[in-house]
Symmetry: C2
């Protein structure tokens, strides 16, 4: 099975680096910028505890089997909520998923047969690569700049490769933190009308903007109904509840629902009812606002620390999300830097595994959402020492 | 993609019968014996509501991302709990799944490439057929009798077809309600040592015995470590929480975990912590006892009603679980009977779709767990009328 072979390859290729990192992030004396975890301080513990109790008592039906499409009141809420980023959708165009990552898996399951092509950004989200390899996809890549993926290159690649799907994280991208500009969003929406490719718009971070600017989704410009928009409550409420959603054209959603019937029948009803109640009672927007403030401050703390690092490292300048992306001078190896960093009790993630084409050993990703501001300062001090020891 | 083609084929083959049934079970004036739903009366609402509140307040880590293998205290509990059916397992040999059906999906994802063979019982669980078709498996079948699958036929089929997996529901089988005898369990466990086939032992109903007899699992006789045992809390606590588990040899579980990483990262932590607390506080065994009493009574009510139906219908005699299986006289069509039954406001499920080889139009499945005893009596009266109208 290809996923196993892929996992073996990944393991060999990266010398267990990622596995080791994940282990290290569990050690309390390591300050980790490696994962993509929300801040535990951000979880609305008291509100969720009360809501959990109340929805079980008031809506005991949630303990029974539910429908694969999801809890109807939550689907209705989401259909209204996404209007805020320009998406017009009916309830029938919304399906609940067990985390937005399941959305990637279900689209791949529905669309990709062995040897079909998927276009992804270079670099792109590691787990999306892994899922697409599970379904034995071939890859083509499109590069970008500080305004996100190049529309010309994306369209040329689609025209040349005739891919089944294209996968983008247009807002506060994982791993780079870069956001696709408004003009390019419009252009990507328009170009889809001329090709037989489904665009997967993965948007787990879009609401975490630290400025007042909230860009419309690419799906807002999807005149040909070829975009499946994936959203998530993992970064807004709680990842442990595993709750995401897909918005798209009904016949494509239907294929995803058939895959989901086999995969897990439906998403945990309690989580669906809890998040719906959280939203219905008006907690969502104030809570997002508080996370934006908190993460915006953490980003600024980390960016201030970056100024103390050697000037020949190039960093992206995100305005939201969870990640900053760094390019060390060519010839440096982020994997070796990580070894030095771990000696200083700080961790990050080397960038190589975010590239389907490999290479790019001089790149690295820093997460700023999980650590406290004090730990960010201390962790960055340690990273500076690691850089001195490496050089 | 094969699953879509399969779904289309299923739809065409069965003239939307199953889709229509599922719709009908939602209508309040229909008494449905069609689904496989637990009784809503059986849900421990008050206890779960309190536990949900407490685990969120006391263990706020469950709101963060968790490990793909599952919540460690629950895995430890399960490793001890399955000793009751003769399974010796370490915590590392237990993985939590988002319902036991996800276990089937993950094994198929790890083991089946297009054209690989899976051996199933004839008849077998409908969703297992659907999942295996998603992964483009070929099928071979093994038949059985009132003691479950024929071991000789199973072994001959395995020897001839060299399947990657064999799938059995040995206890209170879905759809027949039949239980594999102790002797045959031992024999199936032994024969696996001579073949390169993984046995999937799907056991969502095993604890729902209405007698004092609890048989050891096939996995209790798995000297060659080729059985993956799948368990579920859906019928014991709540299906809406989507919580199951797999017990098996670590290298095979590892493959399932890699598939699960892509599929949903991990199972909802709140559900895992809630069910663990439910078990730790000693609620599980008394609760199972109360369900056994309740469902045992319902089975007896339904069996009493069966005596009023024409004697030329053959019914299985389950001693646990959720289902009775019926064989109408050859030449009768359960699909047509269903049409007559729906006019009388009662529903069941025709048996044809439980056969990978099709046919068997004279078979049908009755569920006795979901309706109240009074509704079982009324529903069976309606079914008797439908049979009179059909003939």
């Amino acid at each position: 099975m290809s996923e196993i072979r892929y996992a073996e390859r990944l393991k060999n290729m990266q010398g267990n680096v990622i596995r080791e990192i994940l282990k290290l992030t569990q050690q309390p004396d390591i300050i980790s910028f490696a994962g993509g975890l929300p801040s535990p301080d951000s979880f609305p513990v008291l509100v969720l505890a009360e809501i959990a109790r109340e929805v079980i008592l008031d809506k005991r039906d949630i303990l029974q089997y539910g429908t694969t499409e999801g809890y109807l009141p939550l689907r209705e809420f989401i259909a209204g909520w996404v209007k805020g980023i320009g998406i017009e959708a009916t309830t029938e165009e919304v399906v609940i998923t067990s985390g937005s990552q399941q959305g990637i898996d279900l689209i791949a399951k529905a669309m990709i047969d062995k040897g079909d092509t998927a276009v992804v950004e270079s670099p792109t989200y590691l787990a999306a690569i892994q899922i697409l390899k599970t379904y034995q996809a071939n890859f083509a890549v499109a590069h970008g700049d500080h305004e996100g993926v190049s529309v010309d290159e994306l369209e040329a690649t689609i025209a040349r490769e005739n891919p089944k799907i294209a996968y983008l994280v247009p807002t506060f991208q994982n791993p780079t933190g870069i956001t696709l500009s408004l003009e390019r969003r419009k252009a990507v929406g328009a170009l889809l009308a001329h090709h037989n490719t489904v665009l997967v718009e993965d948007d787990p971070y879009g609401r975490l903007s630290f400025t007042d600017e909230v860009l419309p989704a690419i799906k807002a410009y999807d005149s040909s109904q070829r975009v499946v928009y994936l959203g998530s409550f993992s970064k807004l409420v709680s990842p442990g509840l595993r709750l995401g959603f897909a918005v798209g054209e009904p016949s494509l959603l239907r294929k995803m629902v058939i895959g989901k019937q086999g995969a897990d029948v439906h998403t945990n009803n309690l989580a669906q009812a809890m998040v719906y109640e959280f939203c219905r009672r008006g907690h969502l927007e104030p809570h997002i606002q508080s996370i934006r403030t908190q993460y915006g401050h953490k980003l600024k703390v980390m960016q201030d620390c970056l100024k103390d690092l050697p000037a020949d490292i190039k960093w992206t300048s995100p305005t939201g999300g969870l990640f900053i992306w760094g390019e060390l001078p060519q010839g440096m190896d982020a994997g070796q830097l990580l070894v030095a960093a771990i000696k200083e009790k700080v961790a990050f993630i080397p960038g190589e595994s975010f590239y389907v084409e490999g290479g790019h050993k001089h790149t690295m990703r820093l997460n700023f959402s999980n650590a406290t501001p004090d730990n960010i300062r201390e962790g960055m001090r340690r990273l500076k020492v690691a850089l001195q020891n490496y050089r």
